[in-house]
């Protein structure tokens, strides 16, 4: 199982629809400071169900929607779609390709979908946790987050292992 592609539209600095196709193995994302690399990381965490505005570096969840620039008006929604190659059946669902989508509207509404069918956040989280990606997102090591692992309390470290198990 691997992430085949990621589509972003209106998510943070990705005002225009952007499509990234990924490979198994190692994919590196590079670019200057402030160009949007960590925003890709935020998009992955967000579409997998991350609910903490702080983990996404915002003050409120609405901060993930493109806020506009000098030359472009703010957008009314953010949408991210993740396509997963499920040929090995790691996701307990009878498809070889699985898409997970999340949309957030500036007026506050949120939508989730698995393979185009509307669902709840909980359905997305449960589907992923069965394949080894838990709610705590131990699979995402954010920028500057490495030292947190060491500064964590013994109980918090236990949580890391419990989630992976």
């Amino acid at each position: 199982m691997y992430v085949k592609s990621l589509s972003l539209k209106g998510f943070k600095s990705f005002a225009s629809a952007t499509h990234l196709s990924l490979e198994p193995g190692i994919t590196c994302i590079v670019g200057p400071n402030g160009s949007g690399k960590s925003n890709v990381v935020d998009a992955l965490a967000w579409v997998m169900g991350e609910q903490g505005a702080k983990s996404l570096r915002g003050g409120k969840m609405e901060d993930v929607i493109f806020a506009g620039t000098a030359g472009r008006a703010p957008l009314g929604r953010a949408e991210v779609t993740m396509t997963i190659d499920n040929t090995d059946g790691a996701l307990p669902i009878d498809y070889t390709e699985v898409t997970i989508s999340r949309t957030m509207f500036r007026n506050g509404g949120s939508e989730y979908a698995i393979n185009g069918t509307s669902c709840r956040l909980l359905d997305v989280q449960e589907l992923l946790s069965d394949s080894g990606i838990g709610r705590e997102m131990h699979v995402v090591v954010g920028q500057g987050q490495l030292d947190t692992v060491l500064r964590a309390t013994p109980e918090e470290r236990r949580g890391l292992i419990e989630e992976a198990a």
Partner: protein, 155 residues
């Protein structure tokens, strides 16, 4: 629950000793339970002794050493209980060249069983990528993806 955690801890602790020894050749690292008699609530302590050194207090370790110990713990968890993919955002910031090389060796091992999405500024890391994406902002605050290079294209 106790048993699931107990086994996961044992496997992780075993991996940790191995990974630590590869990041700190000649050094010694160990994971211990704060309360081995209570598997339901026990926490986990990290012991790290870089080669040639006696000091074990984590706070006295250098910036680069702390990064490596944290990486050792995470990679131990990744190896004990694999997930299909991992995302790492500039974890090499504090590492010198030698340690960066050791980290990259670990990435290449994880690649055998998992997909890695790695944000980096380091050339050495880019060199082991199977695919490379460049992001850019052309002064207008909007991200564009400028290039995708696959390894077989380059070679």
């Amino acid at each position: 629950v106790e048993q699931v955690f107990g086994e996961a801890f044992r496997d992780t602790a075993e991996q940790f000793e191995g990974v630590f020894g590869r990041l700190f050749p000649g050094g010694e690292g160990r994971l211990t339970l704060t309360d081995p008699s209570d598997l339901l609530t026990t926490g986990i302590e990290v012991e790290a002794r870089p080669p040639g050194k006696k000091v074990k207090r984590l706070s006295l370790l250098s910036g680069g050493e702390r990064s490596l110990v944290a990486v050792a713990l995470l990679v131990a968890i990744f190896k004990a209980r694999p997930s299909p993919f991992y995302i790492m955002d500039e974890v090499e910031a504090a590492l010198d060249d030698t340690n960066l090389g050791r980290l990259i060796t670990l990435f290449e091992e994880l690649r055998d069983s998992s997909q890695l999405i790695v944000i980096t500024h380091q050339k050495k890391t880019m060199e082991v990528a199977d695919a490379l994406y460049g992001v850019s902002m052309r002064g207008d605050g909007i991200t564009t993806v400028v290039s995708q290079r696959l390894r077989d294209v380059a070679s």
